[in-house]
């Protein structure tokens, strides 16, 4: 086990370096000049040259890369030249919004997929098989922004059950001052139940919209793996020992079937953080998606680089955790590879 963690940590660091290099190169090979874009079409050549020096763009690329890595590690993430604010400040408000949305969406997708797959596997009636299948097909097929708009029309306009697209909290309500930037958690930490309820209420529709696609995918994966496992001899033998069907399903089949779903979950969670731009736009969610899209368009190096690296870090840490959990479940994964 320690060997596995050490080797995964090492590959994680390499992957992080790779992500850093990719972010660094990708934005530099894109056409356009950052200094000119920042100052606009009417800036003098001298002004642009002096901004290039200030931004460090006159230095050789390897030196720029080294400075970028050093600065990232020390927390000096530079300034957004188009918005005129330090990147750390921009991301400090935006990234937690995206993270909180992603966490809730993932929790919804995973628990719904788990519940539906177990229900279908246990009941084995035409209804319990078909209903989740149809739901998953719908979830995989429907465009997220469309579902988001329809859910707003029904949930907000028609029924008035949910708040409109006003962001994370109702207008006029202050963010709970807490350490994490995740409003529901911060509100609980400082004991503001009203703020918690409001933040949670605002999360439901966007999180459900974002959860659709991963739900469909995770349900199908888990259901297929459970079906494979239920034919396994060890399930028959456990039943022959007098264990009930439900007990065999939960205690024997599920741990065997869930590992591919966990691995996929790690990948999906990373995608939720990076791919929620459309949903954020529909719900006016003040997340990092809009900020980064803007950053790409204006070649705002610091914003884009930092976001890519931050996403990569979250992605890599998530997958490291998934690997450890999978190895805790399956002893054959502990030595780093599958035996026999």
């Amino acid at each position: 086990m320690p060997k596995l963690i050490a080797s995964r940590l090492l590959t994680s660091i390499l992957a992080l370096l790779g992500a850093a290099a990719f972010a660094f190169i990708a934005i530099r090979v894109a056409p356009g000049d950052a200094a000119r874009l920042t100052l606009g079409a009417f800036a003098t050549d001298e002004a642009i040259a002096s901004l290039r020096v200030e931004m460090g763009l006159d230095r050789p690329l390897p030196v720029q890369f080294w400075i970028y890595l050093q600065d990232f590690v020390t927390g000096d993430w530079g300034r957004s030249y188009s918005l005129g604010q330090p990147v750390s400040q921009l991301l400090a408000s935006r990234f937690p919004a995206t993270l909180e949305l992603g966490l809730y969406a993932f929790a919804m997708a995973f628990s719904a997929a788990l519940a539906m797959a177990l229900w279908g596997a246990h009941r084995q009636t035409p209804f319990s098989e078909r209903l989740p299948q149809r739901l998953a097909l719908f979830a995989l097929g429907v465009p997220q922004f469309w579902f988001g708009l329809v859910s707003l029309m029904i949930g907000f306009e028609l029924l008035g059950l949910f708040p409109g697209p006003v962001g994370r909290l109702p207008p006029g309500m202050d963010a709970p001052g807490g350490p994490t930037g995740l409003f529901t958690i911060d509100a609980l930490l400082v004991g503001e139940i009203g703020t918690f309820a409001a933040a949670f209420h605002h999360l439901i529709l966007p999180a459900a919209t974002l959860a659709l696609l991963p739900f469909g995918f995770l349900y199908r994966l888990l259901r297929a793996n459970l079906a494979d496992m239920s034919d396994a001899s060890f399930a028959l033998v456990a039943r022959a020992h007098g264990q009930s069907r439900l007990r065999v399903l939960l205690k024997t089949l599920l741990p065997n079937a869930i590992i591919p779903t966990l691995t996929a979950s790690g990948l999906i969670f990373g995608q939720l953080l990076a791919g929620s731009v459309l949903v954020e736009r529909v719900f006016n969610w003040p997340g990092a998606g809009a900020l980064v899209t803007q950053g790409v368009l204006t070649q705002d190096y610091s914003v884009v680089q930092t976001f890519i690296l931050l996403s990569a870090a979250v992605y890599i840490v998530t997958n490291l955790l998934v690997d450890i959990v999978a190895a805790l479940i399956d002893p054959r994964l502990r030595s780093g590879g599958l035996q026999r």
């Binding site: 084995q124 001899s233 028959l236 033998v237 456990a238 022959a240 020992h241 024997t252 002893p331 054959r332």
Partner: protein, 278 residues
């Protein structure tokens, strides 16, 4: 002797395929019945239908009475109290009969707890160690924490015997317990099984296609063909068995005495003199 198991006109169909065709026999308490037959003759289906563990697609007609009462094969909860408790089961492939992500101890504890509701972990552990000793697994306490992939096939099959014995059943159904093992391991596993069965005075229903096994443990032999029970007789009568199929099975057995010539084979069609609708 009273009948432990009475099977009356038991038929099982999987869609259009008849796996068992109206099987009837009485099985006396303390008997050691060996059921022989080719692959596909319905031997395994017979074992699973007694346990009520056939796939859902199976249609079962007929009655199985155990200790004088009909088995409630439709009532899964009631059957859970009988499985493991009264009727034990040993699967043919030890390599796939254990969940790879659970320790051997976990398997044994769960089998124990299914038959001893409300028991403590300490009791389950004591029972597991006692049974592993019985099936001759050394360093039992330490090996409880090992996973199936750390065991050999022969050891796993002995653990499976231990798990089947943990509820102290009156009848043990062993479905080809030695097929997946090599010859030397087969002998030792069979010896462990035979010893446990005779020490406990249990009844054994051993399903096999290996007639060599018959002589070692059986008191009775049942011969199956094409889903039918074609003969049921005490072991002593086997050599003189009148049925042409049984004769053919016996002749098709390799032995050290007769080397150098081909073994007789059994044709697809039944030997002459056998009426398929009898």
């Amino acid at each position: 002797m009273t009948a432990l198991l009475e099977i009356k006109e038991l038929s099982v169909r999987f869609g259009a395929t008849a796996a068992l065709r109206s099987i009837s026999f009485n099985f006396a308490a303390g008997a050691q019945l060996v059921i022989v037959g080719e692959s596909g003759s319905g031997k395994s289906t017979l074992g699973l239908s007694i346990l009520g563990l056939l796939p859902r697609t199976a249609e079962v007609i007929g009655k199985v009475r155990f200790r004088g009462a009909e088995l409630p094969v439709e009532d899964d909860r009631a059957m859970n109290r009988i499985r493991g408790d009264s009727i034990g089961f040993i699967h043919q492939d030890p390599m796939s009969a254990f969940s790879p992500v659970h320790t051997i101890g976990t398997h044994l504890f769960r089998a124990f707890r299914a038959n001893h509701p409300g028991s403590t972990r300490r009791e389950a552990e004591a029972a597991a160690i006692r049974l592993l000793d019985e099936v001759q697994i050394s360093r039992a306490r330490e090996r409880l924490d090992h996973y199936p992939h750390q065991y050999s096939g022969g050891m796993l099959q002995r653990v499976m015997i231990a798990a089947a014995l943990i509820g102290n059943p009156a009848l043990l159904i062993a479905d080809e317990p030695t097929t997946a093992l090599d010859a030397t391991t087969q002998a030792s596993v069979l010896r462990v099984l035979a010893n446990s069965v005779s020490d406990r005075g249990m009844s054994l229903m051993l399903i096999t296609h290996d007639l060599g096994v018959v002589a070692e443990v059986a008191t009775d032999v049942a011969v199956m063909y094409g889903g039918r029970l074609i003969q049921y007789l005490p072991i002593a009568d086997l050599p003189a068995a009148a049925h042409p199929y049984t004769q053919a099975l016996l002749k098709a057995r390799p032995s050290f005495g007769r080397r150098g010539h081909r073994l007789p084979t059994i044709a697809d069609l039944l030997p002459a003199g056998w009426d398929a609708d009898a």
